[in-house]
Subunit: 709 residues, 2 copies
């Protein structure tokens, strides 16, 4: 966020009120004022969340149907969901504000083991406070750091272990802070990669009061033993900023040009809500503090597909069992927020081509609106060939390219980045993509162990350990495939037993369908080609009479390794199964529960699934878990190339033919590609032309070129 | 192939002789002449394969090292591998021709159950012969097809079942031909999709003699019963050609422009062999009849990585156990050839941007060189963000985009298409991508069963069944990671048992490594995050001392469902494990064996692996199997959107840091992206501008635009 107060820029377009419109600057201010009005003047509220409280499905679903049909949908009261502390205390409240009636409808103090997310102001205050603390300075002094060294601190979510640690029991909110320093030879470089210089000191701070709770000394060997602090030994830097590199000079520019503009349109469905139409798709885009980008009311060719789609949470438990690393487990949405941590995307850097940027407005800790420009970029891309056939009798080929529409958002959570996208194509496929990049949260290692294999991590740099950790993403799918009233099934391919009549040669197999009848956790099984689908039993395919459906294609993952009694496992309520199915219930939006920070479990999707609700009523919610077990490579430092994961939602017997049959074929007249071979195809001529630097490209950009060698 | 005789176009560049250079037109002619010279003049040879016989590794490996070092590599005799019939007979020979000494070094008749691949001339001759046959015409007459109907035949590889069928035992080569017709309302349309009109008659033809062996009548119900032929009932067409569609009009052009040209260079290492250099990568590209595109001597930053890479074969067994479908199992490389079936790629259709085309020269059945233009296209593409980090303290973001180099080839095997690519990036990753598209090989179904679920397929159109089938690809990796002398290992992440000292909270896990010590078949295991790697124990990572390696990232597949005693299983010698590791042996290039057509098994990778060779000598070959169980969707007809699979080879502790650290950051000055929001960001202004048709795009193409809303 850039901290600038929100402008009313967008009010130029007459603001519409819509039940799904993100809170406006005015509504944020209104919410904060109404909450403050509940308390004496000397109470200063530290606001953690001021966000849209979406209407109940029973109200909203008919509203959206009426709206689409052009009927008057009526009015639904606007409400805000507010979480706040009395500033400087652990006194936490949750409130609901009715913005239509300007009334606080509920305002309750929250019980033990419930803590709000961290925020940007907080981690900067915590860093400042601890570095100024004499006890911390005294410990740092023992390291005898080079003169002029600059120490920095990454405050981390404390996590949970249920034990009394020193005088501190983790029912209180705390932050475990990891110390690093900039390259001591270049300490004035504000963007020096301090993760190359982890220090063995880890202060624990109360982020509400900014008090120092205790100082942990980190184990830096192969086991849990902690050694007394000794003077820092010289180690080399590892910088990622370009001025520290000798950059390649032979990567020629590649540009995406849309001379007739983009194929999508964007409308305001509310002051901040955006309605996007592209290639028969239409959907509403929202943006909030916790989930960031949210899609609503997704249709293809006016056929309902998804009521609501969002990333519901992430869990990143670490492998290192040693104190204090045993508590290291982040929930980047619940503990921080994909919205509030969203990058301000820059033109020509984060996307390529013709880009529309969606901005958002969120609240700061004082309840003031904060402008979040460019949090979502929208653009088209080419993804190679979508379908092709060549008739070998006539040699006629028909080729259609795969054009995609991408909605991308990027969040930075301290050291780490996530690039999250919804990708639509012209064949009715909707893909959710997650790219993990950024910098490993490193820990110090004795220099003399650099060449020794480590049980809990990879040595990625001299004296630097990149700890093993798992990443779990949970995509929440609230479906309305061909309308509400859906059923979740999985199909498996099974061999047919040998039979003299039916299968005399032992080659036969068929497909067996299983209906998911009650809420629970379910697993993938590549050995049976198990394939989960959301179907609508009431709507039949016009061609073959099958129940129309959408397939959920999920990459396999290793389930959480922490044992079932561990807090990692109890808290990551979604990390043990690739698929969870629950019966829709109001307020059940986040797989790890509403309050993940130092949570104890029992409040997320696993607990809801354990209700064993019948799904006969046909209102299932599908929670898709995917992730990686990140065993770092040296190549992941100082910044890691993306690890990419994709979940695809694909029509299965939903349409009556290939839905991309009507996409115009790929043709040179439109694509204006450039033939680098040249007329006589001689290598010499070509190399010459290449080294002449794309004169060729210019020359042929007129589409004058012809195919073939 | 376009059938034109090969020109000597490329001879303009002084031809170099290289042991890996694909056979030249001259060498093909020379080989055919030398073989013909072995026989009396009245023997007419039907050539099936005339291709380069690559030198033994013991000769070639030192040659390549010397060549790279700039030393004189010496000379290696050029040899051709030739397979041919005495035309019109089943008399099959295999020969080796030494092109340097102009001598036939071996020339042997092959034994029973060994049959050569099909070829294009053959399937056209078979179709012509059977349609002219009175017995076939008599059967067709029983269908009482509409006047003017045009029947077409897709000759299929016969397959194997080991039984005597009528008077025919499958030790003889045969083709099972499936009949279809063009849309009877539009029979003059040569590109009418005949797969929408499958007929229940299936003649079996001897492709060597063109004799009709028998006529099978196909089961068209739910079981194996075959009904007498009855008059054809009217059914609707389903065309894929654009003139049969109402095409979308709202997809705006998207162009890839490289104003300074491409970043890669192409040199001839031989008359037809191409050496490509791009972003520290260099490798040689070959092209042959069977595998099509082959990569040799792949290096990154002059570090050896892979000695040879190619798709070694495919197997596509079908699920339908009913006669004659029970034999339906294609080996598209061994039975046909990825080279000889390669598409002539057209500029602006099959790739986007600045494209270099590689052509090939193969042999026809008369041993004449055939020009194969544009069989491989080479181009760069943008693949989104490769790495990013934003320093939340300074708000400075560094973003590097993922530029890729793509080598793409596309083959058409009768009804079906495969789009096969090697994709290189700037982080040392090498991806093999397979996209399956084209048209299902359909079979007839009683019209009144259209709405009835079918045990062996999906009804994709009235009266049209798309049978279930599995696709298995086998990628052959002959590694030289950091040099020869490699070891295959797999790493697994395993939980550490609870322990009061080491793991008191139950969260710990570590990594366990297993070395593959002898040849065999191995499986993936997502539950342990099993990760296969090729390492070089003799070369240690400079940072952490680990053996340098490359990870082989493989998508999970369902193993072949046909039982172990079935011919499908025996023949598809690679379809039962995701990973096979064998000890390198000369001539073991094709996972399904050298002669897959009507094979009986026992000649492929499973058999080689069963030798249980020790891998201690450090010369492993890794066979990576991946694929899909294709349960057709209505959406897959009349032509299917791509099913995409990717295998990634990724460095693990091979480099001393992120190898893409030196890639220039993504910047607007270079990318010239276009901001669609416009200055005031008002929706109205933007929509107006969009409908003005990209004036915006032109206006800003000068890089005048600035980021942000």
């Amino acid at each position: 966020m850039d901290g600038k107060p929100a402008t009313d820029r967008l009010d130029a377009s007459r603001p519409k009120v819509h039940p799904l419109g993100p809170l406006t600057a005015h509504e944020i201010t209104q919410s904060a004022d109404l909450i403050r009005g509940c308390w004496p003047h000397d109470i200063d509220c530290h606001f953690k969340v001021i966000t849209l409280l979406e209407p109940a499905k029973v109200e909203l679903a008919p509203y959206l149907v009426a709206e689409r049909a052009g009927r008057d949908p009526g009015n639904i009261d606007r409400r805000a969901f507010v979480v706040y502390y009395f500033r400087g205390t652990h006194n936490l409240h949750e409130a609901v504000v009715n913005l239509t009636t300007s009334k606080v409808e509920s305002n309750a103090r929250l019980g033990p083991f419930m803590h709000a997310n961290g925020d940007g102001e907080e981690i900067i205050a915590v860093e400042k406070a601890l570095l100024a603390h004499p006890d911390v300075q005294a410990e740092i002094a023992k390291l005898k750091l080079p003169k002029g060294s600059v120490v920095v601190a990454d405050p981390w979510i404390y996590g949970s272990d249920g034990i009394k640690d020193g005088s501190f029991y983790d029912d209180k909110r705390a932050m475990q802070c990891f110390l690093y320093m900039r390259d001591p030879r270049n300490p004035s470089e504000l963007d020096s990669c301090h993760y190359a210089f982890p220090l063995p000191i880890s202060p624990v701070v109360d982020p509400n009061t900014l008090e120092l709770i205790r100082i942990d000394i980190l184990p830096t060997g192969l086991d849990e033993k902690v050694k007394p602090l000794t003077p820092w030994q010289t180690a080399p830097p590892s910088e990622y900023i370009p001025e520290a590199q000798t950059l390649r000079t032979d990567l020629k520019p590649l540009r995406v040009v849309q001379p007739e503009g983009a194929s999508f349109t964007v409308e305001n469905f509310s002051e901040l809500g955006r309605l996007i139409r592209w290639q028969k798709w239409d959907f509403k885009v929202g943006f909030n503090q916790r989930e960031g980008m949210v899609l609503y009311d997704v249709h293809y060719d006016n056929k309902p597909l998804f009521y609501r789609l969002s990333l519901s949470d992430m869990a990143i438990p670490y492998a290192d069992p040693r104190h204090p690393f045993h508590r290291k487990a982040a929930f980047d949405l619940g503990d921080a927020g994909a919205g509030i941590m969203a990058n301000n995307l820059q033109l020509g850097c984060d996307c390529l081509g013709s880009i529309y940027y969606i901005g958002g407005i969120l609240a700061d800790s004082y309840g003031k609106p904060v402008n979040m420009p460019n949090v979502i970029c929208v653009h088209e891309q080419d993804a190679g060939i979508l379908w092709k056939h060549t008739n070998y009798r006539t040699n006629r080929a028909v080729v259609v390219r795969n054009r995609e529409l991408v909605l991308q958002t990027i969040l930075t959570v301290s050291n780490y980045e996530y690039i999250l996208s919804f990708i639509f194509n012209t064949a009715g496929d909707l893909t959710y993509e997650a790219r993990a990049t950024g910098i490993l949260s490193t820990q110090p290692l004795d220099l003399d162990l650099t060449m020794t294999p480590h049980p809990f991590g990879t040595v990625v740099h001299p004296g630097v350990l990149g700890g093993f950790h798992q990443h779990f993403f949970s995509l929440r799918i609230d479906p309305m495939v061909a309308g509400h009233g859906n059923t979740v099934v999985y199909d498996e391919a099974v061999a047919i037993p040998r039979d003299p009549e039916l299968n005399p040669h032992g080659v036969g197999y068929t497909v067996r369908r299983t209906e998911v009848q009650s809420s629970g956790g379910y697993d993938l099984d590549p050995s049976t080609n198990r394939s989960f689908k959301v179907i609508n039993p009431a709507v039949r395919n016009a061609v073959n009479g099958a129940a129309v459906g959408y397939k959920v294609m999920v990459p396999p993952m290793q389930a959480i390794l922490a044992d079932a009694d561990s807090f990692h496992h109890k808290r990551a309520e979604f990390a043990d199964h690739s698929i969870y199915v629950t019966r829709y219930a109001e307020g059940e939006l986040y797989a790890g529960g509403l309050y993940t920070n130092q949570s104890r479990g029992g409040t997320g999707v696993r607990s809801w699934a354990e209700r064993k609700d019948s799904l006969a009523e046909g209102d299932p919610v599908v929670w898709v878990q995917f992730g990686i077990n990140h065993i770092p490579r040296v190549e992941d430092f100082p910044v890691m190339p993306v690890e990419t994961l994709r979940v695809m939602l694909r029509p299965v017997n939903f349409f009556d033919r290939n839905p991309a049959l009507d996409v115009p074929p790929s043709e040179q007249e439109t694509n204006c590609s450039v033939n680098l071979n040249g007329a006589n195809g001689s290598v010499e001529a070509r190399l010459e032309r290449m080294t002449l630097g794309g004169e060729d490209g210019q020359m042929r950009y007129s589409c004058a070129s012809h195919g073939g060698v």
